[in-house]
């Protein structure tokens, strides 16, 4: 028993650094890198007083793959598949941000049908992302069943995406100037059906889960993120809209053809975990409505530009491709030096900024609420570590 006390003094670089600032009579707890509620290999060092958190420090880098370095050694098309692996839950948004940036460099015109296809698939992907988040968040809160329902529905959407993209998770579907494959009738019919189906499911989830009293008490008034804090940390996406700001790139700086669709930007003023939860639940319905509109007005035509250069060598310059992902603003900053490989690629991942406020927001809260807040931020760890 004696060396138990001594062993506590050891630990890795981060533990030692964290322990140096610890108060007396507190408990230092390493939540992660392997922990059920960090959804991947995120580690959070906590200083606890009883069950109250005095200090929290996320430790990153456990799935760091140096994506930005990879960008500097691969050619432009070679780097495309990497995008599906940054955020595996909303891979198509990362696809899109990258092709957007490169298309801007190349001054490429995207055919209209391809734009529609991008909107449909990206929104479908957003729904799968939100469904998974929903299930996983409820799992964090101790409800085991919703994730099964979420997965079952998500599976349908993924089956659809598989028809045209050929993969289920780490999509590499968009290409410079278009998409790699045209929609099939099977996909179109399936998507229409899926939209109808999910519209019957979402009210059920509301009745069974969202309106549950225990859930409401668990997420109400937890993890307040005022707008000012969101601004200082660069929080975007549903987390920001949960703070009452109707900021959505699809509406604010309409890229692609989002200005042609009629949809709401759900926002709730409460700034708490419940608000973020409700935003995502509403967003799924809005995505459904976008998909339905896009399918109804889908034009005929090619899905790739008429003439594509054999080797992609954008002219010197820079471009910033920003799209609205399921977790917030995805930004890809490409600097080209005129060769076939990018000179520098910077990936701006929304979860990175969203998590960075955790230290501030978790001060003085309960351990159980920390789990609830982490879940409500909808983190994807590979996206944070890149």
């Amino acid at each position: 028993m004696l060396h138990y006390a001594q062993e506590q003094l050891q630990g890795d670089y981060y533990t030692r650094a964290f322990q140096a600032g610890a108060q007396e009579d507190t408990l230092i707890l390493n939540m992660g890198p392997q922990h059920p509620s960090t959804h991947g290999v995120l580690r959070i060092i906590l200083e606890l007083h009883g069950e109250y958190i005095l200090r929290a420090e996320p430790v990153l880098g456990y799935v760091h793959r140096m994506q930005e370095k990879m960008g500097e050694v691969k050619t432009y098309p070679q780097y495309l598949p990497n995008m599906g692996r940054v955020d595996y839950l909303h891979a198509l948004a990362w696809n899109w941000a990258y092709v957007l940036a490169v298309e801007e460099l190349l001054q490429l015109e995207v055919p209209e049908r391809a734009e529609y296809i991008r909107v449909i698939t990206c929104e479908l992907n957003r729904i799968t992302s939100h469904l998974l988040w929903w299930g996983a968040y409820l799992l964090d809160l101790g409800a085991f069943t919703p994730i099964m329902y979420g997965f079952a529905d998500r599976e349908r959407a993924m089956d659809l995406l598989q028809i045209i993209t050929g993969s289920r998770l780490t999509y590499c579907y968009y290409s410079f100037g278009g998409v790699t494959a045209d929609l099939t009738p099977q996909f179109i019919d399936g998507t229409k059906e899926f939209c109808k189906y999910l519209r019957t499911r979402l009210p059920m989830y509301k009745d069974l889960v969202t309106d549950n009293m225990i859930l409401r008490h668990r997420v109400d008034d937890i993890g307040i993120i005022p707008v000012d804090m969101a601004r200082r940390y660069g929080v975007t996406g549903p987390n920001l809209r949960g703070s009452g700001v109707e900021h959505d790139l699809r509406r604010n700086t309409p890229y692609s053809i989002y200005d042609r669709f009629d949809f709401e930007i759900p926002a709730y003023e409460e700034c708490d975990a419940l608000a973020r939860y409700l935003v995502r639940m509403d967003e799924m319905e809005e995505s459904l409505s976008i998909i339905e509109q896009a399918i109804d007005s889908l034009p005929e035509g090619p899905v790739t530009p008429p003439k594509m250069p054999k080797v992609i060598k954008p002219p010197k310059g820079e471009a910033y491709g920003a799209v609205e992902g399921a977790r917030g603003v995805i930004g890809i900053h490409v600097i080209s030096d005129g060769t076939a490989t990018p000179y520098r690629i910077k990936l701006r991942s929304p979860s990175f900024s969203n998590l960075s406020l955790f230290a501030e927001v978790s001060e003085g809260i309960l351990l159980a609420d920390a789990v609830s807040i982490l879940g409500s931020l909808d983190l994807v760890i590979p996206e944070i570590d890149r």
């Binding site: 138990y4 069950e51 101790g142 079952a152 225990i214 668990r218």
Partner: protein, 321 residues
């Protein structure tokens, strides 16, 4: 030597109880997984045996076959005694439960008290397990277990006390005899509030969802049994199921008329009611999210305890009138 037959009777009863617990434990494991499966729109276990019936056996074999691991810095004596301490008192609890008109391990005037006294030992086991594992998650889980079980024991006792007052006895058989075969002759009709309080507290006492805070896996990985593996974990697991059966049995005896039932009374009625309650408990677990710790205590101190006191007072008034 008039005590000898009594002793033999108890020994036989204990053996029978061991068999009962083992069998029901297996059935419960299967039932829980199957029910959970159907609640979650999946079939549940179906590979091992017909309808997956042999799944719990496979689970048990797996658990027994696993290596027992103890953290180097854990206190060995306490670490290994905790799962035993958790499981062994369970036998005593079943001893005084009247399964049928004559099917009872030991006729004992203080049967109810015996159950309450020895079910309190479980929390001691959790506490020792959590403390001796030398793991911070375990420690937090143990601290939660203590606060939770002490809090919920009070309204539970008060709810049970109302029944004891009503009939002026702590003997479980007598309480059953006071109830009739028809559902409206059961105590749940005269004491609905006590039944609800008892049921909520009992679920909380057994650390079942939505009150499974000591082992809340999303916060404390596995709480007090984080470090336990193999059959040491298996004993905790079995003890949890045994306690679920006990609380359902006690609820059946106190509130649902025990072995009484329309038509032929007997063991089957008892078992039916017990399993109905167990189904409700399983259903709760797979439906609700987990409450937070302060909410858990608030429910207890602000709602259950005052309600239990009021209920007791009302019972007293009615009994004395």
């Amino acid at each position: 030597m008039n005590i000898a037959p009594e002793l033999i009777h108890i020994a036989v009863a204990l053996a029978a109880i061991a068999a009962f617990i083992g069998l029901n434990g297996l059935v419960l494991v299967w039932l829980e997984r199957k029910v959970a499966g159907h609640i979650q729109r999946r079939p549940g276990p179906y590979e091992v045996g017909p309808w997956g019936l042999l799944q719990p056996v496979a689970d048990a074999v797996k658990l027994v076959g696993k290596q027992l691991v103890r953290p180097k810095v854990a206190d060995p004596w306490l670490y290994w005694s905790a799962p035993l301490l958790s499981f062994t008192p369970v036998f005593l609890l079943f001893l005084t439960i009247p399964f049928g008109p004559r099917l009872i391990g030991m006729e004992f005037n203080l049967g109810l008290l015996l159950i309450l006294a020895f079910s309190g030992l479980n929390v001691l086991a959790l506490c020792l397990a959590g403390w001796s594992s030398a793991n911070k998650y375990s420690l937090l889980g143990a601290a939660r277990a203590v606060a939770q079980s002490i809090a919920y024991e009070i309204p539970l006792l008060l709810a049970v006390l109302a029944i004891a007052f009503q009939f002026g006895t702590l003997n479980l058989s007598t309480i059953v005899h006071h109830q009739g075969p028809m559902p409206w002759q059961w105590n749940v009709m005269t004491q609905p509030l006590a039944f609800i309080i008892y049921f909520i507290c009992a679920v909380a006492e057994t650390n079942r969802a939505p009150f499974d805070l000591p082992e809340a896996e999303s916060e404390l990985t596995a709480g007090f049994h984080t470090e336990y593996s193999g059959m040491a974990f298996g004993l905790f697991f079995l003890a949890e199921y045994a306690y679920i059966i006990v609380i359902s049995c006690v609820a059946t005896v106190l509130f649902l008329g025990g072995w009484h039932g329309p038509g032929a009374p007997g063991f089957w009625w008892f078992l039916l009611k017990v399993y109905a309650l167990i189904m409700v408990i399983i259903w709760l677990r797979w439906t609700y999210p987990r409450v937070r710790f302060d909410q858990l205590l608030n429910i207890n101190w602000k709602w259950l305890l005052p309600l239990a006191l009021v209920n007791l007072l009302l019972t007293l008034i009615f009994v004395k009138m």
